[in-house]
Subunit: 267 residues, 2 copies
């Protein structure tokens, strides 16, 4: 059972995991260095713990204690309880879903482990926006994808905002980082996947044609701004486009990935 | 040619249109009462003016003047120029895309005008999140939809954040508000559209089956949280679902609308 600790001083050093949550750069360093991540909101906190992640601590206003009592019963981590005003002072924003948890990251699995039973895989090169990373995980999970691989520079799926948008799909969907950016797609081809890059390249074919009849597929997405790197665009087995209205040449990456996942899942 | 006005006092009353842009409630009132909307970023400002909307004024740091010179040449509205630090003081946030414009809203067209040449229409009941409204407009425009109808309580597509996410699609896509919520869908059916509600209802059929072979279609989307109202769910001609993996029962509304638009556009 978690130990409830009432907090009256926002400078209390035990709250270090929860400081300045709006400062993205600070948080990226702090969370990586300390091997932690933050879950926000009752539903997401619950899914993180149910997903087997070890809580370091919880932080919440008193009114959230009852709703999370069953989750708190499963752990010995401290639960810091404080008013919403104090919580806002510590975190730097209004914690409107009321509950936060800091949890231990786990070592990432190998690419081979992630691919072991996978037939449909998403590969993200350099998505910058945590919201988009979370959205891709959520759509991929809902639409039948089995795993996600991230290039070294893709934004962190365990960043608070990504976790929240993914509605916890980052806890259940197997994922890891690709160790080698340059040969990532040829390596996937060698592992039996047909790599299909979503791109506006001139030789791109409509996505439904690109994936028709394929067995193992790796769907490859680039960044929000400039799309895929030339290396990834050219080293993919196929290039595919989502057909769009004349004069319009782009969809938001989250929307594009949802459409591409839907089409690919029904190949 | 716009008159360039250098600003040194952040309290200057001529900047009233640009105050406190992060205060959503304040902005909703201010913009509705004054019949204005805000465009943010060089590309979006340009698209608003090219879309025929009349600028009330512009506000930008000096370095954006050159890039927008051709746009400024088309209007007599004042262009307030100030440092980025002062701009931040006025607006309440870091204006990282550098240029803002305040423009006049236009009277909304009638439903009949919006539907006149339309074959594929999106109908949004009560989306709360401006980001989602913008995303639906962008995906709808890209994937071949002709118009958007909004229930009385749907979030405003001309709110700054919605415009930005839509990448200006709110300026080119015909849209209006439905005057009557209760009979909105039967009215659309009477106008020759098959109304297809996206829902998790038990009698929902897969979206591709629901729209197969239809001529005029109105695709109906509910709110982020509770989905469609019972009235709209039951008064639609058909109920449709995007098939999802066992155990997962929801997609983000922006992702769901992208998939549904893609499938419907190819009916």
């Amino acid at each position: 059972m978690a130990t409830v600790v009432e907090i009256s001083d926002p400078a209390d050093p035990r709250l270090a995991d929860y400081r300045d949550l709006r400062d993205v750069e600070l948080r990226k360093h702090l969370e990586a260095e300390h091997g932690l991540f933050l879950a926000e909101g009752e539903k997401v906190v619950r899914r993180a713990v149910e997903g087997g992640f070890t809580p370091r601590s919880f932080l919440m206003a008193p009114r959230w204690l009852d709703g999370l009592a069953d989750v708190l019963a499963t752990t010995d981590a401290p639960c810091y309880v404080l008013s919403e005003a104090l919580a806002e002072e510590v975190t730097g924003f209004h914690v409107h879903r009321g509950a936060l948890a800091s949890l231990e990251r786990r070592a990432l699995p190998s690419v081979a482990e992630v691919l072991a039973d996978a037939r449909s895989v998403l590969v993200l090169e350099e998505l910058i926006d945590h919201t988009n990373v979370g959205a891709v995980f959520r759509s991929g999970a809902a639409l039948g994808f089995d795993a996600v691989l991230l290039a070294p520079r893709c934004a962190d799926p365990f960043y608070r905002r990504a976790i929240k948008v993914a509605m916890g799909a980052v806890f259940t969907m197997p994922w890891t980082r690709l160790p080698d950016w340059y040969d990532a797609l040829p390596d996937l081809s060698a592992a039996g996947f047909t790599t299909v890059a979503l791109t506006l390249a001139e030789d791109a074919v409509p996505i439904d044609e690109a994936v028709a009849g394929l067995d193992k597929v790796a769907l490859v997405l680039g960044s929000e701004g400039h799309g895929l790197s030339p290396r990834w665009e050219r080293s993919a087995d196929r290039r595919a486009i989502i057909p769009m209205r004349q004069g319009i040449d782009s969809l938001n990456v989250a929307a594009a990935s949802a459409v591409a996942c839907y089409v690919t899942a029904r190949r």
